[in-house]
Structure formats: structure tokens, C-alpha cells
Symmetry: C2
Subunit: 228 residues, 2 copies
């Protein structure tokens, strides 16, 4: 274990976008809930790194049952989620110390690679923070008047998690007022004047937000190996 490294896994989804009663982080991927893969990725990286999972209060009972059912033995603490992702991260940070590095990861990204986790921790120590991102391979346009115009995609990057920050800096940033423009932790830090460093992510590290994503994730696992 490298001392002073923590991971905060945010799993606040209520399931409404998946058109199912089951929150998306609990849906089964190759036999196990999506969230278990996200947690497992970090325990594989460093078995001694403290893991905090942020879950809506209403879901902690179901989660306990799922862990029992699947014999899921990775030690983790559960913190209570808030009304938005911002508030969930805020609550989760409250359970962590004031020094060290924290990786904030989406509970619905089961396919983060070991290389991505390693690169983010490494670059964060070098640049102050690090978030994984991948290039855009499609042609990109922007709406403009009644039509559209082409956008140079060369400098654009699609952002993923885990996003790694200095714990004190991230806690400070999360003391500001909530804005609906905060789509991730980097946007919260940027608002405080921090320069955000981009690190190469792995393309398979997709977010499970709609039913076909589960099938895509299964297909990617079949190609890259089931990491569970």
C-alpha cells in the first residue's frame, strides 16, 4: 500500500434512466452487480487502499444483501448519498482525512483498467491532479444558427473517471456552492482556479447509463477478459 491514497466510489443512481426498478449500479454484468467491478478494480490495484462507496440511504440494505449473496469480500465503508452527485461526493469526502490523494470514481464504470488507475495516481502526484480522458474519433459539429459548423476535434477529449486530486484541495473545492454546471469533480476544481491535467484513459471505460451499455460492457469484457 502507498500510504495516503483513498478511493471514493460514487453510486448515486436511482434507476430512473434505466427504466428499471433496480438502480443501474446494481444491475448484473456477467453475473455480478456493476458496482462490484468498480470496487474490485481498485482493490486489485492496491488491496490495502481504503474504499468508500457512496450510496443513497434507501439502497444500503439492498447492497448489503447483494454483497452477502455474491460473497463479495472487498472491505469498504458505505457513506450516504445526497440529492445530486455533487452532494454525494461532498458527503463521501466528509468520511476521509484531510491529507493524501483521493480517486473519485463512478460506480457505473466497471471497465476501468489497472493502467488507467496507475496513470492517474502517478500523474496527480506530478501535476497536482489527473483525470483520464480519451480522444474523440467521430466528426464533431456544433449547432450554429439554423444549421451547424464543424469543430476541430483534435484538441477535444472525452472525460472519464477515476479523477485523482489532493484531498485537501478537493475538500476545499467542495465547500463552494453547488452549480448545475458541475458535471464531474474536475469541473468543481476548475471553478476554484485549479488547472486540470488530462491523462490517457482506456476507451473501454464506459459509463453504464442505458440498457444497451450493459450488453456493450459484456462484449468488451469478453474481448478484454473478465476482470472480476
Amino acid at each position: 500500500m502507498t500510504a495516503g491514497r483513498y478511493v471514493l466510489i460514487v453510486a448515486g443512481g436511482s434507476g430512473s434512466r434505466m427504466k428499471t426498478d433496480m438502480p443501474k449500479q446494481f444491475l448484473e454484468l456477467c453475473g455480478f452487480p456493476v458496482l462490484m467491478y468498480a470496487i474490485r478494480a481498485f482493490s486489485r490495484y492496491d488491496a490495502a487502499m481504503p474504499v468508500t462507496v457512496v450510496l443513497p440511504a434507501a439502497q444500503t440494505g439492498v447492497w448489503e444483501q447483494l454483497c452477502k449473496k455474491h460473497g463479495f469480500a472487498v472491505r469498504h465503508r458505505v457513506a450516504e448519498g445526497g440529492a445530486t452527485r455533487f452532494h454525494s461526493v461532498q458527503n463521501g469526502l466528509g468520511t476521509l482525512p484531510d491529507t493524501g490523494w483521493v480517486a473519485v470514481h463512478d460506480g457505473v464504470r466497471p471497465l476501468v483498467s489497472q493502467a488507467t488507475i496507475e496513470a492517474c495516481f502517478r500523474d496527480a502526484q506530478r501535476y497536482g491532479n489527473a483525470i483520464p480522458a480519451v480522444p474523440v474519433t467521430d466528426t464533431v459539429r456544433t449547432l450554429s444558427g439554423s444549421g451547424s459548423r464543424i469543430v476541430n476535434r483534435e484538441n477535444l477529449r472525452l472525460v472519464q473517471t477515476p479523477q485523482v486530486f489532493d484531498l485537501k484541495a478537493l475538500k476545499d473545492a467542495y465547500r463552494q456552492d453547488f452549480s448545475p454546471l458541475f458535471t464531474d469533480d474536475a469541473s468543481v476544481m476548475e471553478r476554484q482556479g485549479h488547472i486540470i491535467h488530462l491523462t490517457a484513459g482506456n476507451e473501454e471505460n464506459i459509463k453504464i447509463t442505458a440498457p444497451p451499455d450493459l450488453k456493450i460492457a459484456e462484449a468488451l469484457m469478453n474481448v478484454h477478459g473478465n476482470l472480476f
Copy 2:
């Protein structure tokens, strides 16, 4: 059949990005070459619409054999590809008349929906052209100095095919000199001053450019039904 509608399917890939000897348009998806799904989508939409497939000269023999092997009976004409996508489309357009509407489609997009094809033809007749595009669901950043800054993704769209244009206007546009900035047909038209209209595409309409894409396409077909 609606008179004056044509489809040009561009399948110029040499296979180098797929790290295989087989060009990506010929790789098998649920038992059939990817290109056959692309052609079939348009023949399902309108069985009488003339289809031209642009293929590298070196691949026409293999394609003939594949059609025989799979009993592929959709009538289509084969035109010879060029050094780049631009030159392939140029050659393909040379085989078409000067009036009507043409849908230019990537041969490696097997999952275009009937709704997307219909919407593009409909909107092209209304707005002069129409290309399908989908919103960006990831957080987007742009490289900036030594760091990055967040980009408002609200107005950004990821562009797909089929891209539908007035035949004469597209032929005129393809008479200009080649630029490496031409990533699709809309960018060629835009350079000539045309305003490009965006139409809602279907998210599953992915481009097969790397081996995992085949697995993803298979997964999506299993969800949405094998359209072959």
C-alpha cells in the same frame, strides 16, 4: 420507390487499423460481412433505390466471392475506390446522374436504423441537406496550455452517416481540391458555403474501426434485433 434517390456506400478500408488482412468492411458480424448490413439497410428502406458500393479495386474479387458464398442478392453496382475517402466518393459520384438526392453512407456502419434513413431523406428535401448526429453524453474538455478547460457540450453533436445531399450540389462540391480536413461529405459541402442541417441519428449507428467494435455491434444487434 421515390424517384431520384440514390445511395453511395463507401467501403474503402484496407484493413490496416483492424490489424488483420481482412478489410474491416468484410469482417463478419453475426455471420455476415459488415458491408452487407449497410447495403441491406437501404434495400429494406426502398428495394428499388439504386445502390452503388465503392470498393478498392483489389477487393472487388473478394467481394464477389463473399456475395456468392452468402447468397447476397441485393442488386448493387460496384465502383472503384480512390486513395482517400474523398477520392472514393468522387469516383462513386461519377457513376450517378446529375439530379436527385444521394445518401452517402459508411460501409462500416451496419447499424443505421430505418428511422435515421427516413429522417435524413425527409430533412434533406426540406433543408437542402441532412446529416445524422447524436448528442455528446460525456463531459468534454479541450487541451489548453499545459492543462485543459471544460467545453460546453450542450451544442456539440457527433456526426454519423448517411449524409443526404442534392446530387448536383454534392458533385459540384467534390470538384474542389482535396483537403485533409475533409473528414466527411458535410465538411466538403461546408467548404463550398453550404449550411449543414443536423438530423437526429440513432446512437447504435457506430462505425466499426477497431476489433472491439465488432463485439459491441453484435451486442447491440442482440438488443435491437438482427436486421439482416
